[in-house]
């Protein structure tokens, strides 16, 4: 009796060890799989992995070549947002089903959340007076250009001399816009950022076309975006000499970058 009891006892202990062993094996296997997955996902830098589809497609945009011709957007009737913030329409949620009011149910007064009871909203931020509402109806007035490159957007304003630089030398203004957008490498922006505030950069263009005095006038709050924007300017040696019939010795430019991944 005692012997059989001992056998039962041993069986019991063996089973537990088996369970432990199986568990540990499974854990090791899981560790290896996890390790392989992690290492492969992180170690797959350029060139390795060998897929013919591993092209850094964004690079083409950064080639100092003009991008493929894009359709000119009508400023007055496009869907891009303007410089001013337009409030989205509040979404009114329709109730799925209206419950039949129960006579016996206790009526619980619902807290009223009408707009009149809400805390007064802060007034919309007044934009800098040199910012022109863009695409919000009415003619666009201002030497502003807007460009789209790979989902990101930028724009600028130019001041110079008597203030007629933009009219007289529109081609030069477009050249600044084109050149800055070509030299903005969006891969320098922190990849975890998908969207951010606008960053304003100001700089002067000297007679020889060299940009100087490059400053971040208003930060976007994302350091890598601010940096990539000023680097775009630093990367440019020259925009080409200022037009010879222009009498001033420099032109000041404000350029903004909107980043959206």
């Amino acid at each position: 009796m005692a012997a059989s009891a001992e056998i039962f006892f041993e069986h019991d202990r063996w089973g537990r060890n088996l369970a432990w062993s199986a568990g540990l094996h499974a854990a090791i296997a899981a560790c290896i799989t996890l390790y392989a997955v992690v290492v492969h996902s992180q170690g797959g830098t350029w060139g390795t992995g060998g897929g013919g589809d591993a092209m850094g497609v964004t690079l083409v945009n950064t080639v100092p070549l003009p991008a493929a011709p894009t359709q000119t957007q009508n400023v007055l009737a496009n869907e891009s947002k303007g410089l001013t913030h337009s409030e989205p329409k509040p979404v009114v949620k329709e109730p799925d089903a209206i419950a039949i009011p129960d006579k016996n149910a206790k009526k619980k007064p619902k807290p009223v959340t009408s707009e009149s009871r809400q805390k007064p909203q802060p007034e919309p931020e007044p934009e800098a007076s040199n910012v022109v509402p863009f695409g919000e109806g009415g003619p666009v007035s201002g030497p502003y250009g807007v460009f789209n490159a790979g989902g990101a957007k930028g724009g600028f304003g130019v001041t110079g001399g008597g203030g007629d630089f933009g009219t007289r030398f529109a081609f030069y203004v477009q050249q600044i816009q084109r050149k800055v957008s070509e030299n903005w490498l969006k891969y320098e922006v922190d990849p975890s950022v998908s969207q951010s505030q606008r960053v304003y950069i100001t700089f002067d263009v000297g007679r020889d076309g060299h940009p100087s005095n490059i400053r971040v006038e208003q930060s976007s709050g994302v350091p890598s975006l601010d940096q990539s924007a000023s680097r775009a300017l630093q990367r440019i040696d020259t925009f080409g000499p200022l037009p010879s019939d222009y009498s001033g010795n420099k032109v000041s430019v404000e350029f903004w970058f909107d980043y959206k991944r």
Partner: protein, 441 residues
């Protein structure tokens, strides 16, 4: 409702503010797009029998230069209004700046032969800006020959590209040096950027390879087979003859100029193993840069800074591209698979163009293709796909074009393309033409 009213008031306020400041319209040229350019044929300004031929040469050359620049969208000639434009007074702006021509810029002018001279007047007008349209006005005068007229057209095209291309000089007057076997020996030849005017430079009667023009365009370094083996040779384009350069012996090959023109890097097997060396432009002050077992050759300097050198090394087996500082420190591997050779650094220092067989070896049929790699991020783009062996890329001075050697059409010939891989064209047809090198300006 209140908010809407508020909003309306604000936008009204902003509009009036903006109006008060001296801001002006830019028109509809928004977005990153090519400049739409119309180039009607130039008009004869005199009555001379030579006019028609010279006009044709001029118009064709100007059109090709602007078309090849890569920054314009050329408005087709068939859309142009009838009648030639010879002077600013002839322009009807509405006819040019609206459909179907829809040009942003208009290049026009006249050409006239009088006696032995030809005079060309050319203008560039911003036709969307009617109040002050003139961007450029030029007058050229030269002998009434077709080669002089070609040069005038190149100059005018370069002037337009310089104005509208962000201050980067045009390449219409640049030269391409290459190796050709059409005389029976491999000699160094030269041609204009568009393949015209091909002429022989060296007459050594041996094998000359890898010509490299100096940054100022005065000297040509190349390697050739001499009595003492492969040596670096120097040819002066000012004197039109060979000039002395020390013989280092031991397979000295693949010279490369530093961007300031004061130094020369090359590979030599003086130590028994192929290593990189630098000297100054006259061949003095020999310094060894690498010492590692395995092949080291084909150096090229960072063309913007002159502070780095990219080269090909076989230290890990198959040749791969490496970079290092110009003093030999900080060696970094750029490619890590396949068979990568012929690095060429772009003028802005941002890219390396290389010839790469990405999967090399049995069972991996790969062709050598031209790739472009961003040096900082190591992202790359394949530029050629059309088969054949594509090798020896070289950048144009404006960084918008790449010239290379390809065997896709049978024999090895020199091809050109825009730096994004489009617009590929063959430039040479006679004999075998290899190892192109674009002048620095």
């Amino acid at each position: 409702m209140k908010r809407l009213l508020n909003w309306f008031l604000w936008s009204l306020l902003l509009t009036t503010c903006a109006g008060a400041q001296d801001w002006v319209k830019t028109g509809t040229g928004l977005g990153v797009e090519k400049i739409r350019l119309a180039v009607p044929d130039f008009k004869a300004s005199t009555q001379d029998a030579k006019n028609p031929d010279l006009l044709k040469t001029f118009n064709d050359t100007l059109w090709n230069d602007l078309d090849n620049a890569g920054i314009f969208e050329m408005s087709s000639k068939s859309f142009y209004p009838l009648g030639l434009i010879g002077a600013p007074a002839d322009i009807k702006f509405e006819a040019w700046n609206s459909a179907p021509v829809n040009a942003a810029m208009l290049a026009f002018g006249n050409l006239g032969v009088s006696g032995t001279n030809v005079t060309v007047q050319g203008w560039l007008y911003d036709v969307k800006n009617i109040t002050s349209p003139q961007v450029l006005g030029k007058q050229y005068s030269d002998a009434a020959t077709s080669s002089a007229v070609r040069i005038i057209a190149h100059k005018f095209a370069d002037e337009i590209i310089f104005r509208l291309g962000g201050g980067i000089p045009g390449i219409a007057e640049s030269t391409i040096y290459f190796v050709s076997s059409r005389s029976g020996h491999k000699e160094v030849w030269a041609m204009d950027y568009d393949g015209a005017n091909q002429h022989q430079i060296t007459h050594l009667g041996t094998i000359s390879l890898s010509p490299r023009i100096s940054p100022d365009g005065s000297r040509l370094a190349f390697s050739s087979l001499t009595k003492s083996g492969w040596e670096i040779q120097m040819y002066s384009l000012d004197l039109n003859r060979m000039v002395a350069f020390p013989h280092f012996g031991a397979m000295s090959q693949t010279p490369a100029w530093s961007p300031d023109g004061t130094k020369l890097a090359f590979s030599s097997s003086r130590s028994g193993d192929s290593e990189l060396y630098t000297t100054d432009a006259a061949g003095a002050n020999l310094k060894k840069l690498t010492s590692f077992k395995g092949l080291d050759l084909a150096p090229v300097w960072n063309r913007k800074t002159g502070a780095q050198i990219a080269w090909v090394s076989g230290r890990t087996g198959l040749p791969q591209i490496y970079t290092m500082e110009a003093d030999g420190t900080n060696v970094q591997k750029v490619t890590d698979q396949g068979y990568a050779v012929s690095p060429a650094w772009s003028p802005n220092g941002q890219f390396l163009a290389i010839s790469w067989v990405r999967r090399y070896g049995p069972g991996a049929p790969g062709a050598a293709d031209i790739y472009m790699m961003d040096v900082a991020s190591k992202q790359w783009v394949q530029l050629t796909h059309d088969g054949g062996r594509n090798d020896y890329p070289s950048w144009s001075p404006d960084g918008r074009h790449i010239i290379f050697q390809s065997s896709r059409a049978g024999g090895e010939q020199i091809w050109t393309m825009l730096a994004d891989g489009t617009n590929q064209k063959v430039l040479t047809t006679a004999g075998k033409n290899t190892q192109p090198n674009w002048s620095w300006k």
